[in-house]
């Protein structure tokens, strides 16, 4: 596998950014600073940074309700994300989307998504668009195991397969669809098996190992860019928190949680980097300190941003109709 030390370091920076962003979001949510719901990526940090390491800035991703990790990995701005979580006027979505709907078209982020299974179809559209426009852009569709039971999963993998769309379907199998464990919600162990139904490669990797994810993603992205069609990449991981913050996750067996915490990708990857001489412990510590500062800055930024003026509620429903929708 060809991966440079720089790339390995970059993946660590992004993983750390996600871990700290999410831990901070958990704390801020508990303090009542963030309205609504947040679904955190804690425990799954090895996946999006490794996948996005294989992408270009002009490639696309679709995301999920658990989207912060994907957005950070694709280059999303922490300040604008935090401001959006706080519901501020200058947040990513001007305070109209919140945690579940962050998008950044300029970075190819076609949106986190509150509907489980919706991103699959949108990713096909982005892939079709790249094909018709004659570019070699690709689209990565991130989704969980829960969404593989939606009809859209089947419709989209079939469509992407027959049209050889440049789409990489990345299943983050965290073993839960909300409260329902994978062994209760589907009769297969490896989501990757479903690739066979569409005559596309299905590979299953350790989703807590960024290098394993990178290797599989690299091959899938190369295949997509070469016009050979989609791949289903399953990354086995674990959702360390509940479905949303505030969910006590009473349905998760303690032994299972403990076993997966042993496989936490953060210390595991940091140790790997140090042991293999990719980074020194001092460099790791420096990254951690730098990221901690970024998160602090993001909170300070978000805190200083204005609450949306209520008048703005009518803006951006349409491209050209504004005041008419104010009637009630």
């Amino acid at each position: 596998m060809a991966i440079s030390n720089e790339q390995m370091k970059d993946m660590y920076v992004k993983m750390r950014r996600i871990r700290d962003f999410e831990s901070t979001a958990a704390k801020l949510f508990a303090e009542g600073k963030i309205p609504g719901f947040v679904h955190l990526y804690l425990g799954e940090e090895a996946i999006a940074p490794a996948v996005c390491e294989c992408l270009r800035d002009d490639d696309f991703i679709t995301s999920t309700h658990r989207g912060h990790g994907h957005i950070i990995a694709k280059g999303g701005d922490l300040n604008l994300m935090m401001a959006e979580l706080f519901g501020r006027e200058t947040g990513y979505c001007k305070g109209k989307g919140g945690s579940m709907h962050i998008a950044d078209r300029d970075k190819g982020i076609l949106g986190a998504n509150g509907i489980v299974g919706a991103g699959h179809c949108i990713a096909c559209g982005a892939g079709l668009s790249a094909k018709i426009r004659g570019t070699d852009q690709v689209c990565v569709c991130f989704f969980g195991d829960g969404s593989t039971n939606q009809g859209t999963f089947h419709e989209s993998l079939n469509m992407a397969s027959i049209w050889k769309l440049p789409v990489i379907f990345v299943c983050e199998n965290n073993h839960y669809g909300i409260s329902m464990s994978q062994d209760r919600h589907q009769a297969i162990k490896d989501v990757a098996d479903r690739g066979a139904a569409y005559n596309i490669p299905g590979v299953s990797v350790d989703g807590n190992d960024p290098l394993a994810v990178y290797e599989a993603a690299q091959e899938a992205v190369a295949r997509a860019r070469a016009g050979k069609g989609p791949t289903l990449v399953e990354c086995k991981t674990y959702r360390q928190h509940g479905h949303f913050e505030g969910d006590p996750a009473i349905y998760k067996p303690k032994e299972e949680q403990a076993a997966w915490m042993e496989k936490d990708p953060m210390p595991r990857y940091a140790n790997f980097l140090v042991e293999n001489g990719v980074m020194t412990q001092e460099e790791v510590d420096a990254v951690d300190a730098q990221v901690a500062k970024e998160i602090e800055d993001a909170i300070a930024f978000a805190d200083a941003q204005p609450i949306p003026a209520v008048e703005t509620a009518v803006v951006d429903v349409y491209s050209d109709i504004v005041e008419e929708v104010r009637d009630r």
Binding site: K96, G97, A103, L110, G111, G125, R133, T152, Y318, S319
Partner: protein, 322 residues
């Protein structure tokens, strides 16, 4: 001037833009080799090729979702749902995705996409292939909705729908597809602009789609009784030409709303409410709505005809008012 069928108007509208802009594409079930279930896109695959006139699997969610993803990333897709009844299968992609993305994302993403929705009863296709579901879509902020009644409007509204930067729901009435009419203009027709199809003094009939013709027939018969009827074809349901409605109703002082949909919870109720709220002082009688029976669309021709509102129903409605 050219005589064209309504179907040719739709096809010509799509083709004009596809000739000008390589980013305009058409996809849907059987729109390519088969030419569309009703022949609307017949021959387009020969002119534009199978990449741009693309047959899809029977996957309505993925069809609409593909239009969402494609329009978010640089294309101006036209997605066809063979029957608007199949909206049910693709509704999430339309209502939760297409309609809301611009807003949820703070205006950062535009979705210039058109969804073609063949609609209406009168073809013997029964309850799952004959509905008029426009009210489901006019109810959703973020969607625009048009419903042409003749070839020229079909063409002009198609051009506008493709040019628009928001998702436009384009209803096409199946019974009208083969009807010929004059096309004098090949220009876009602005959204939110209705038209007067017949001028009159005593009563305004507000309608769209196939019911325009039933309304005109009723108006002709009422004229024999000395009742002068004005017929307004809305053409665009959202944005809605409230000014035209106001202009006409303030002149005639009587309003009859005619739609093919079932009346319960329908778009006719919305128009009626607008007139009640905004034009009450001009009214000499309550607004009356005429629509289909409050039932699923029945199969047997005699039942189906009974289900649909016709000119006599409209005359009866007019007589309730006057």
């Amino acid at each position: 001037m050219k005589m064209m069928t309504y179907a040719e108007g739709i096809r010509e509208g799509m083709s004009i833009r596809m000739r000008e802009d390589p980013n305009v594409i058409l996809f849907g079930e059987d729109v390519g080799k088969f030419g569309g279930c009703f022949g609307v896109s017949m021959g387009m695959i020969d002119e534009f090729g199978e990449e741009r006139v693309r047959d899809t699997p029977i996957s309505e969610g993925a069809i609409i979702g593909c239009a969402v993803g494609a329009s978010a990333t640089g294309l101006r897709p036209i997605a066809e749902l063979m029957f608007c009844d199949f909206l049910t299968v693709g509704m999430d992609q339309l209502v939760n995705q297409a309609a809301k993305m611009r807003y949820m994302f703070g205006g950062k993403i535009s979705l210039p996409m058109v969804v073609r929705l063949p609609a209406g009863a009168g073809t013997g296709a029964a309850a799952q292939h004959s509905q008029s579901l426009e009210a489901w879509l006019t109810h959703v902020p973020g969607l625009k909705v048009v419903y042409p009644s003749c070839a020229e409007d079909a063409l002009g509204l198609m051009l506008t729908a493709i040019d628009d930067n928001d998702p436009v729901m384009y209803f096409e009435n199946k019974v009208l597809l083969s009807m010929k009419s004059e096309v004098n203009s090949f220009e876009p027709i602005p959204l939110g602009k209705g038209k007067i199809c017949r001028e009159g003094e005593d009563l305004t009939i507000i309608t769209y789609g196939k019911q325009v013709y039933d309304a005109l027939e009723a108006a002709e018969k009422l004229a024999a009784d000395g009742i002068s009827v004005e017929v307004v074809d809305l053409r665009s349901l959202y944005p809605l030409d409230k000014e035209l409605i106001a202009e006409s109703v303030s002149k005639t002082h009587h309003a009859l709303v005619v739609t093919e949909e079932v009346r319960r919870g329908g778009f006719g109720g919305e128009i009626s409410a607008i007139i009640g709220e905004e034009l009450f002082d001009y009214l000499d009688a309550p607004v009356v709505r005429i629509g289909a029976l409050d039932t699923p669309v029945p199969f047997a021709p005699v039942l189906e005809q009974y289900y649909m509102p016709n000119a006599q129903d409209i005359i009866n409605g007019a007589k309730k008012i006057l």
